[in-house]
């Protein structure tokens, strides 16, 4: 498998670390325990397109949001998780 890293180009999957579903958002400070519980533990297991967090540990060290088809392993796109700040060199 290969991931099209927006910073480095198409790279082998061995350079990346998988984290999982990119959709849960960390609840704000002092949020209820139930919201944090859902954020930490509850995940869907969807069939088809899925947005996931991957870390380019042996490359640019960017966290990526990778769109992967869980059925075909097709990876149509990947973007940086953190938007580049104005003035950051690419």
């Amino acid at each position: 498998m290969r991931i099209p890293c927006p910073y480095c180009g198409s790279r082998d999957i061995g350079e990346f670390v998988y984290r999982g579903d990119a959709s849960p958002v960390r609840p704000a400070a002092d949020g209820a325990e139930a919201a944090m519980f859902a954020y930490v533990y509850l995940r869907d297991n969807p069939m088809g397109r899925h947005e996931e967090h991957w870390y380019h540990t042996q490359g640019c060290r960017n966290w990526l949001v990778v769109t992967r088809d869980t059925l075909t392993h097709e990876i149509p796109s990947a973007r940086l998780a953190a938007p580049l700040n104005a003035g950051d060199a690419v």
């Binding site: 498998m1 290969r2 999957i13 400070a29 954020y39 967090h53 960017n62 966290w63 938007p83």
Partner: protein, 974 residues
């Protein structure tokens, strides 16, 4: 000898000697082991898997199910190699397998007389009782009786290589389609890799008598390969099998190097990982056997293989042949045999029709070969439609039941093949992304059409991919007849008729599976083991499916076919491992003082990938404990030093660095003064402790973190996640500097005096550099850092210099009189001080469990805060950190032992925790330990039983504070 007087592609000027079962034989350069054996009239080459039936050579290619041999001997022995794929080399040693005492007289051949009980499912039905006997008795016996060649059991003496390649177009197979496509794509300017699994590229062109562009087909192939060889944008990989297609247009192949035996100093095989934008499947087709009685006897051969042996290798596989064919290509084999002087007694064809004009005088029989006679073929019984049976004497039966496109690779990503009425076989349906099939693999069997189709496909790809060059014109050849009317099964055979030759699966086994309800091809496969041998049923699979379809009243299309999975061919484990074996199994990271420590005679231990000095034994010391005790006492009483460079080091820089650390750690760092260090604990979001370490603030916007050795990479990943996913608004960067700094801990009451001599430019007084103070300085003109940190509990400093100056600093500390100590002494001193380390930070402990509960800030948010407050994680009954001392001080406590109340039965219900770390404390003179004990902090002074059923008796221990030495911290502040 069966060698023909002339013809073939062998080099008759190069005689090669080889041995077969110890007997000296000769062949020529260009032979395979199989063709050389046939040339020497060796027809019996193997015993079958289950029945130990005599077997000969069935095919001329990698699909060979019968002729498995062991090459070489001793550590080099390579079992289960198809003789058809072995290039003959001078001095080759080959032996037969699965026979005792000899190939000709194999006592296990009695199995075939007991065959009525060895039917499908036999083992499941027979060896059920008693259950215990399966593992101890039945399985070892069955494994010894049924089987393949034996492994040497010795380490593999050969080496293996690995290479990655990228190309625009990968052409899989170098037959007519592959060569034609590679030529077109190469001329057009694409970056092309052509992988061919034959000993020489050319595929069927090396075995046929067709002409292409006025040349013999084999000549055309050699000229094409030569042209490809001089194109800078084309790479030809001969003797390379593509065995798998993976996600992302990745193809894996194995290249066999050095004509079967590696050349000195060279690898035996090379693993190729090829990333190809596009690929063309030009793997050709494989001929189907026909299921009739005795179709496995030596002397029964695929018709195409017979043509191959005659045309390619100049070997007559028999003297008098019966050709049994349901295809037009079988008639071509009859022509080839006649041309080689082999008498063709009859061509048996179930289809009606006459004899081609060029074969006048050849006898055509409309009928079926029902049985062959003889242990090796001596004759064939021909059944004709009028019900008569005629016996024809012969020593060769060449059979052709049809052609199966070799499309296994096309299904590796889950695509299903589809049935083609036109060719009466399966073709690729949907294909993996980027892959297209050409030639026989796409159902196109006529040579002229193949050349044109493959050329057109490659030229179109070149245009799509924007190659600028001109693909040229396709070579021209005539289209031969390729009609087929499949003949799946001959009914009424008097003797065993095999479907899967390698696993000894007969037509009766398939019928039995159907009767017993295994009506899906996947179930039938597993019940009968059809297609589960090393050849993966390449020859017999589809015949089996057709039999099952007939038995269940379905069409072959309805019955479907099984799913092909990688690897398409057996792959040696060694080539997958490549260079990653023995000491190169994984990378070794060496601490800066490694060379210096080695010279001093240190022993090393693995800490992840790091090699760390474990202790520095002196010549008179008889035992590691003596060494470690000396190192601990030297540090506690004078001064010692230890390389702690392996701890993870992370530089955090930016205006929001303090804010980020506040959210990462349970305690607060934004308030830390510049020039000060603070111990911190970080949690996972689920509330468990993730890591700990000290962090130093060198500037308002610059913090320097340390992590445990094991978690360095994970913590950096965690920090990057926090700053780019959780809080991208924070202006902060982080980078690893672990390998940049050599850091030594200098510990002991005399450490200040020693360093004052060594570093006179620094004021080391308590006022200038108090406990948890830090500053930058220059040592011999290079940047350096000093921290007043202590893991040992002594007055201690950590000094960092750039990594390549580490050995010089180690040398200087040693010469100044400090005693080097290793990780074992480091561990003893941290247990004496009750510091948690890897054994306690085990992913199941909370900050409160480890005594850091009060460090958790109340007023700020941090990762893990909410989850750590769940009732289950704040329960005082949770096992928490305590110290343990044996009541009888002479006794020893071992890590891993469980903690039980005194007098309680040693059962899981009474378990109250376990010992996490234990050692002998030379400072105290007895064993000590750290453990996690339920209600631990409130039980100091109580006694518990340390229960260690695996390694010894119970020990009575006293629960105490985990800090054994200097609990007030007087020494480290001294």
């Amino acid at each position: 000898m069966s060698r023909l007087a002339s013809g073939g592609l062998i080099d008759r000027t190069r005689r090669l000697r080889f041995t077969w079962d110890g007997k000296a034989l000769e062949g020529y350069h260009g032979d395979t082991l199989a063709s050389a054996l046939l040339a020497n009239d060796v027809r019996l080459v193997a015993r079958s898997f289950k029945y130990h039936r005599p077997r000969g050579i069935l095919t001329a290619g990698a699909e060979e199910p019968n002729a498995l041999v062991t090459l070489g001997s001793g550590a080099h022995a390579d079992p289960n190699t198809p003789a058809t794929t072995v290039p003959l080399t001078d001095g080759l040693v080959a032996t037969s397998q699965n026979r005792w005492p000899s190939l000709r007289h194999d006592v296990m051949a009695v199995n075939q007389f007991a065959s009525p009980i060895f039917v499908a499912g036999f083992y499941y039905k027979t060896f059920m009782w008693p259950k215990k006997a399966w593992e101890k008795l039945y399985e070892p016996l069955i494994r010894r009786a049924a089987g393949l060649g034996a492994l040497s059991g010795l380490p593999d003496p050969d080496s293996y290589d690995r290479e990655h390649a990228f190309c625009d177009l990968l052409v899989i197979g170098g037959g007519p389609a592959g060569l034609s496509a590679a030529l077109a794509a190469g001329r057009a300017g694409l970056r092309v890799i052509l992988a061919d699994d034959g000993l020489e590229p050319g595929g069927w062109l090396l075995s046929c008598r067709d002409t292409i562009a006025g040349q013999t087909a084999s000549n055309w192939a050699r000229i094409a390969v030569a042209e490809l060889g001089i194109m800078a944008n084309v790479r030809v990989l001969p003797h390379t099998t593509i065995f798998g297609i993976y996600d992302g247009c990745e193809y894996a192949g194995v290249q066999h190097l050095g004509a079967g035996q590696p050349e000195p100093g060279q690898p035996r095989q090379r693993l190729w990982k090829i990333i190809a934008s596009r690929a063309l499947l030009a793997t050709g087709a494989m001929e189907r056997p026909i299921i009739f009685g005795g179709n496995d006897r030596p002397g029964v051969m695929m018709a195409s293989a017979a043509s191959s042996y005659v045309n390619h290798f100049a070997v007559a596989p028999g003297r008098r042949a019966v050709v049994f064919t349901a295809t037009d290509s079988g008639w071509q084999t009859a022509r080839d045999l006649i041309g080689a002087g082999v008498e063709v007694a009859a061509v048996v064809d179930p289809r009606g029709g006459g004899v081609p004009v060029d074969m006048a005088g050849i006898r055509r029989v409309r009928g079926l070969v029902r049985d062959v006679r003889g242990s090796a073929v001596r004759g064939a019984d021909i059944a004709t439609p009028d019900g008569k049976v005629e016996r024809i004497d012969c020593d060769l039966v060449a059979m052709s039941g049809g052609w199966n496109p070799a499309i296994g690779l096309a299904a590796h990503l889950g695509q299903k093949p589809v049935w083609s009425e036109a060719i009466q076989s399966f073709l690729p349906g949907a294909l993996p992304p980027g892959l297209a099939a050409i030639g026989a693999a796409s159902g196109q069997f006529a040579l002229g059409a193949i050349l044109a189709q493959a050329h057109g496909a490659a030229a179109a790809l070149a245009e799509t991919l924007g190659a600028g060059g001109h693909a040229g014109e396709p070579s021209v050849a005539e289209d031969e007849a390729c009609g087929v009317a499949p003949c799946w099964h001959v009914a009424g055979a008097r003797t065993k008729a095999f479907v899967d030759f390698q696993h000894d699966v007969t037509d009766a086994d398939v019928a039995l599976a159907a009767r017993e309800g295994y009506v899906s091809v996947e179930h039938m496969k597993r019940y009968t083991t059809l297609g589960m041998a090393t050849d993966q049923g390449r020859t017999g699979q589809l015949n089996g499916h057709a039999l099952l379809a007939a038995a269940t009243g379905k069409t072959v299309a309805e019955a479907g076919t099984i799913r092909a999975r990688p690897p398409a061919q057996p792959v040696a484990i060694g080539v997958l491992a490549g260079h990653h074996r023995d000491e190169a199994f994984r990378p070794a990271r060496l601490a800066p003082s490694h060379g210096w420590a080695t010279a001093l005679g240190a022993s090393f231990t693995d800490a992840g990938q790091w090699k760390r000095a474990q202790w520095y034994a002196q010549p008179h010391e008889s035992d590691w404990l003596e060494t470690v005790n000396r190192e601990v006492l030297a540090t506690r009483n004078a001064v010692g030093f230890c390389d702690v460079s392996t701890l993870g080091k992370i530089d955090v820089l930016g205006p929001d660095a303090g804010a980020l650390l506040d959210r990462l750690y349970i305690n607060t760092f934004s308030t830390l003064a510049v020039g000060k260090a603070r111990y911190g604990v970080m949690l996972r979001e689920d509330g468990m402790v993730m890591d700990d370490g000290t962090t130093t603030r060198f500037a308002e916007d610059n913090f320097f973190l340390t992590t445990t050795t094991a978690n360095a990479a994970r913590v950096l990943q965690h920090i990057d996640f926090a700053r780019s996913v959780l809080w991208p608004d924070l202006d902060v960067q982080a980078t690893s500097t672990t390998e940049h700094w050599a850091t030594f801990s200098v510990a002991g009451p005399q450490s200040r005096a020693l360093l004052a001599d060594l570093l006179p430019e620094i004021d080391l007084s308590n006022a200038a550099l108090p406990y948890m103070g830090a500053r930058r300085f220059r040592w011999n003109g290079i940047s350096a850092r000093i921290y007043r940190l202590s893991f040992s509990g002594e007055l201690a400093y950590e000094i960092s210099v750039p990594a390549d100056h580490g050995p010089a600093l180690a040398q200087a500390l040693h010469e100044a009189g400090a005693t080097p100590y290793g990780t074992e002494a480091l561990g003893v001193m941290r247990i004496e001080k009750g510091h948690p380390a890897g054994n306690e930070l085990n992913g199941q402990t909370t900050a409160a469990d480890l005594g850091f509960g009060r460090m958790m800030a109340k007023k700020k948010d941090f990762i893990g805060k909410v989850m750590a407050q769940r009732p289950g994680l704040t329960d005082p009954a949770r096992p928490a950190l305590v110290g343990l001392k044996p009541v009888d001080r002479a006794q020893r406590i071992r890590a891993g032992a469980h903690l039980l109340p005194v007098g309680a039965k040693p059962v899981a219900a009474n378990d109250q925790g376990h010992v996490t770390s234990a050692c002998f404390s030379p400072t105290l003179g007895h064993a000590i330990a750290l453990g996690l004990l339920a209600h631990g902090p409130s039980r100091h002074g109580e006694q518990v039983v340390v229960h260690d059923p695996v390694r010894g008796a119970d020990v009575l221990a006293e629960v105490c504070d985990p800090v054994f030495v200097d609990p007030e911290g007087v020494r480290l502040r001294g």
